[in-house]
């Protein structure tokens, strides 16, 4: 398979590196007219900026700033048929609806959106334990995902609304919303609170969201760009126990070691003390999420089937939630 990666930034480089090691991939090229080949270590893989040779590629990976991702996804669907697009799927719900139209016009397509957190080992392990995995029905979910911002935060395209479409919710919070729906299915918005409290970029730097599942399970998200310690925590309360995910393996290691606490409910007759059950903490030392996600996309293309994660339907659900969150509280920004 011949793959074209749009964008030679952080994500484009990650995807290109994974593709180069995939046995079914025969060629990887990167298209990024904003990169100077003289200063770019991946220069041998860069296409010279000119007309994009769509016919030379079987699949495209869209790893660009948000303002062009929907446009390139639509072009990719029209010209190649197989598109992998990084999150967020678009700047807003309406842009994503245009991608949906392009997908409808190309029935043989494979379209996947990059929500790699689903493939992190702690998420996979947690998913196997809820429901019939022993812990029973999910009673509630609670997630905090945040970063510190940093000295170039205000200059980043991620915080310029014209380019990004939103702030920390669309950047990081979207991952947590996707995980919530992975565990509970489509969610409905109850309430939200957005703030641009510190960075003053005109986009939210803190979001508090209350949601509810179809069966009534409450879900709470705090997405933040003012957590001075990088944080990823995800709690799942179940009928027969609980799971607490903490930390996330990343290239910088700044989110800490990835760990999952597994607790099983014990009452007085089963434990020394009520409210202090046996816990096991599983530490994961390897993140295969990028590789697994790309493998799944390429397998879906090869086998002419729908991908198991990151589908258009899931992307529409999460973007609809984000639309509603912004709609309910946009006046606070």
């Amino acid at each position: 398979m011949r793959c074209l990666v749009f964008g030679c930034g952080y994500m484009g480089k990650i995807r290109a590196a994974v593709l180069k090691n995939h046995p079914d991939v025969t060629q990887v090229k990167i298209y990024d007219p904003y990169v100077n080949p003289d200063r770019e270590p991946m220069a041998p893989d860069l296409l010279v900026p000119s007309e994009i040779p769509w016919k030379d590629f079987d699949a495209v990976f869209v790893c660009t700033p948000n303002n062009v991702s929907a446009k390139l996804a639509i072009e990719g669907l029209k010209n190649c048929g197989h598109v992998f697009c990084e999150k967020p799927p678009a700047r807003n719900y309406e842009e994503l609806c245009a991608v949906r139209e392009a997908a409808r016009a190309r029935p043989d397509h494979t379209l996947v959106f990059g929500f790699n957190h689903r493939y992190h080992p702690l998420v996979q392990a947690a998913k196997d334990l809820v429901g019939e995995g022993g812990l029973g029905e999910v009673l509630y979910l609670r997630g905090t995902y945040g970063k510190s911002g940093g000295k170039n935060y205000r200059q980043s395209w991620r915080n310029q609304k014209e380019i990004s479409g939103g702030g920390i919710l669309l950047d990081q919070g979207i991952h947590m919303l996707d995980l919530f729906q992975y565990f509970l299915g489509p969610l409905k918005l109850v309430n939200s609170l957005l703030q641009d409290s510190f960075w003053k970029c005109g986009v939210e730097d803190n979001v508090f969201v209350l949601l509810r599942s179809a069966r009534g399970a409450p879900v709470f998200l705090h997405s933040s760009a003012t957590l001075w310690k990088h944080t990823f925590t995800f709690e799942i309360g179940c009928e027969k126990g609980y799971l607490k995910a903490n930390g996330l393996l990343s290239q910088t290691g700044s989110y800490g070691r990835e760990q999952l606490v597994i607790g099983r409910r014990q009452f007085e007759d089963e434990a020394l003390a009520l409210g202090n059950p046996r816990e096991e903490i599983v530490y994961f030392d390897r993140d295969d999420s990028w590789r697994l996600e790309v493998n799944e996309f390429l397998s879906a293309v090869k086998e002419k089937r729908k991908a198991t994660h990151g589908t258009l339907e899931e992307a529409l659900q999460v973007m609809a939630l984000i639309r509603d969150i912004y709609a309910i509280d946009s006046n606070l920004l």
């Binding site: 996979q124 196997d128 597994i262 089963e270 202090n276 046996r278 816990e279 096991e280 599983v282």
Partner: protein, 318 residues
């Protein structure tokens, strides 16, 4: 690869109190000596590295050698195979009928065996092994067998009496998973034993193994005075390094390597109370005289640093 830390409140008295261990140990040592009277096989070399064993010390007159490359301990004189099988059977019967397995049946079930069942079930789920055929390698009867038979995740549990060279029922390459709860510690030839376990597994099959470690805290501090070091249960006392080397040499890849022990600190403290001749270094004394909160933190540190004496390994057949 993953590792596990356990947070669980139970004390030594609920699973293996020292006074019970003393009685059990007296029985075991006498049974081993009797068994050795019929002739022994000498182990001069480390079953892990092949290096010549160095003298380490004696436990009530029974000699242990140490592997200079891995720090694993091995009983040097082993009774002949037939006598060995009968010894394991005799000791197991005593444990089940007269020792702590009787008096502490319920607390051992909830504190020892049910967590092991949960560990096995969680791992089976994570590896999407549906309705596996499981081989439990043990000296029957085993409390775990009955527990696993009630598991909705397991299709069949076949018990392989570890003293038999071949399992009955699942052989070869027929088991999806094999469980060895400290049985490698009891084997006269652990390398050959693991080879047979490897042969019994399907490609990609899982091995669940627990062992007590020479590299763990209470073993390191107490040495030959550790009352839990006693054959036949501790015929081999691997270091974590020795254990993982042996498994790798036998054709396994690691999924989990942990030392989630809970009792190291309490074991050392109980030994010191029971035997005033035990001398700790001033630093060890400071550590062990700390308040319960700090002792608990020390035990967690031992787990996180893989220097607790209880090892748990999940490995996959290559």
């Amino acid at each position: 690869m993953q590792s596990i830390q356990t947070c669980f409140n139970f004390d030594l008295s609920k699973v293996k109190p020292l006074e019970e261990v003393l009685k059990y140990r007296t029985f075991c040592l006498e049974a081993v000596r009797q068994s050795c009277r019929g002739g022994t096989i000498r182990r001069n070399h480390s079953p892990v590295s092949g290096a010549r064993l160095l003298s380490w010390g004696t436990v009530d007159g029974l000699e242990y050698g140490i592997c200079p490359k891995t720090g694993s301990l091995f009983l040097t004189e082993i009774p002949a195979p037939a006598a060995w099988a009968s010894l394991l059977d005799k000791v197991n019967r005593y444990r089940n009928e007269q020792a702590f397995d009787v008096h502490l049946k319920q607390s051992r079930l909830t504190s020892v065996y049910e967590p092991k069942k949960a560990w096995i079930e969680d791992t089976l789920r994570w590896h999407h092994l549906e309705r596996p055929k499981v081989l439990e390698v043990t000296t029957p009867p085993s409390e775990l067998t009955a527990l696993l038979q009630t598991s909705p995740l397991v299709e069949e549990v076949v018990v392989w009496n570890e003293t038999n060279p071949r399992p009955e029922g699942l052989w070869p390459e027929a088991a999806d998973a094999a469980i060895l709860l400290e049985s490698l510690d009891r084997s006269g030839d652990p390398a050959a034993f693991l080879k047979r376990v490897h042969e019994s597994l399907k490609p990609g099959g899982l091995l669940f193994l627990t062992a007590l470690l020479a590299s763990g805290f209470d073993m390191k501090v107490l040495g030959t005075k550790n009352l839990y070091l006693c054959p036949p249960d501790r015929t081999n006392c691997f270091s974590l390094n020795g254990l993982t080397q042996l498994l790798a040499q036998s054709g396994f890849t690691f999924i989990e390597v942990s030392t989630p022990g809970i009792l190291d600190v309490e074991i050392v403290r109980a030994h010191c109370l029971q035997d005033p001749s035990i001398r700790l270094s001033p630093f060890e004394t400071t550590l062990l005289d700390a308040d319960p909160e700090k002792l608990s933190a020390l035990q967690i540190f031992l787990q996180q640093s893989n220097v607790s004496s209880f090892a748990r390994v999940v490995a996959k057949k290559n």
